[in-house]
Symmetry: C2
Subunit: 218 residues, 2 copies
DNA sequence: ACCTGAACACCGTTCAAGT
DNA sequence: ACCTGAACACCGTTCAAGT
């Protein structure tokens, strides 16, 4: 009895061309060099040298693909400070790293912001580390998640701001409509990125200072 | 000489069916009753009883349309408190009203967040009132815009959060990955909207408290 | 000036057919 | 199991043709 014989044809079993990992890497390659608008299923397939429909053997939808990218990205967010620094400093480091990660991926924010954590193990892992850090610092258990959500909201909004065009606060011909604002806007750093960084750091510093005042500085 | 005679045909000059105002109102009607995914140029034309291509006599692109909606919406944001209350209370009222306005319009956030103010007179007007309020309260002129940008970032992120699905923080089968987080998440209000409101108010309160500490409570 | 109808160049997604 | 090629149901946008 040749029970060893499998039903698969003899000779080298042809390994599949695609995998979720290869697809994710190719997608990140595309959005890394070009824009998110260029990340189409067709472009992705071309990058991988397969037909578009082949992708659907590994990915259930484009949204699924975006979640995979987000998962991979989330691994780069640094929450190691919660192991070594006081909670308010760790919160700062985390937020800074978080924002940096999403500035070049604002297209993922609408996905990430409403994604059930159950669908994203790495996000869950990140939340766990931050929650534990806040918990051990004595933040009341029924508010640790609120603290996280609040910081995250600022981070997402600030990531958009940092990806805005250079002249976003230039009133153009309508300066007469807003003289005080126009003068104040002209006082900001000329480089848009520098201006955005400063605004984020002011807001983050204020928010964390407010949290310290509320929960104690321990 | 019948110099009075115009080149337009005699009789009642047929008034145009469309206008930017009518188009904007129809668009708001659609997103008010249905989802933003249903706001297509074809659906909008059908709502107005014209052909799709007719829209392009009044609107240059779908992005243009979204900006028009945003303009109209911005008129509903309340910054009147800056005329009557101390700056920190006015900032609170403004942020609350701002967020409320965008919770049902998160699709506009990517547009609004990177829109040059020159393209949006009403946004400019809003910024003017807020800047003036902060200016008169003694916030240094070179930081008023940063304060606004920081509050706005929180507002946009919080609007996303408030529009997230009910079970967003339910770890599902992966509770083992995040025991501390799971316990903390279970402590939040059952109603997602209530939970989101509380998180926003904690963050906003903290941020404003931090700003007061920085700039003085005058 | 303003509207219609047809066409264009895309999208994401499905599916029968092959191996 | 995994891939191809063709097809489908949409998108936003353009444009010649009409009034």
């Amino acid at each position: 009895m040749s029970s060893q014989t499998t039903s698969r044809p003899r000779g080298r079993p042809s390994a599949p061309v695609l995998s979720r990992e290869r697809i994710t890497r190719a997608a990140i390659r595309i959005v890394g060099t070009r824009d998110y608008r260029h990340l189409t299923m067709a472009a992705l397939a071309r990058e991988l040298g397969v037909s578009t429909s082949a992708l659907y053997n590994h990915v259930s939808s484009k949204r699924d693909l975006l979640v995979m990218i987000q998962e991979s990205l989330n691994g780069e967010i640094d929450c190691s400070s919660f192991e070594t620094k006081p909670w308010h400093e760790a919160l700062w480091d985390w937020a800074v790293s978080y924002r940096l990660c999403f500035i070049r991926h604002t297209a993922l924010i609408p996905v990430m912001a409403v994604l059930p954590v159950a669908d994203s193990p790495r996000t869950l892992e990140m939340y766990e580390r931050v929650t534990r850090g806040l918990d051990e610092a004595g933040i009341p258990e029924d508010q640790t998640v609120d603290v996280i959500v609040g910081i995250e909201a600022l981070v997402f909004g600030a990531a958009y701001d940092a990806s805005a065009p250079q002249n976003i606060f230039d009133p153009g011909g309508r300066a007469d409509l807003a003289p005080v604002f126009t003068r104040a806007a002209a006082r900001r750093p000329a480089d848009a990125r520098t201006a955005a960084d400063r605004a984020f750091e002011l807001a983050l510093g204020a928010q964390i200072a407010g949290l310290r005042a509320r929960f104690g500085t321990a």
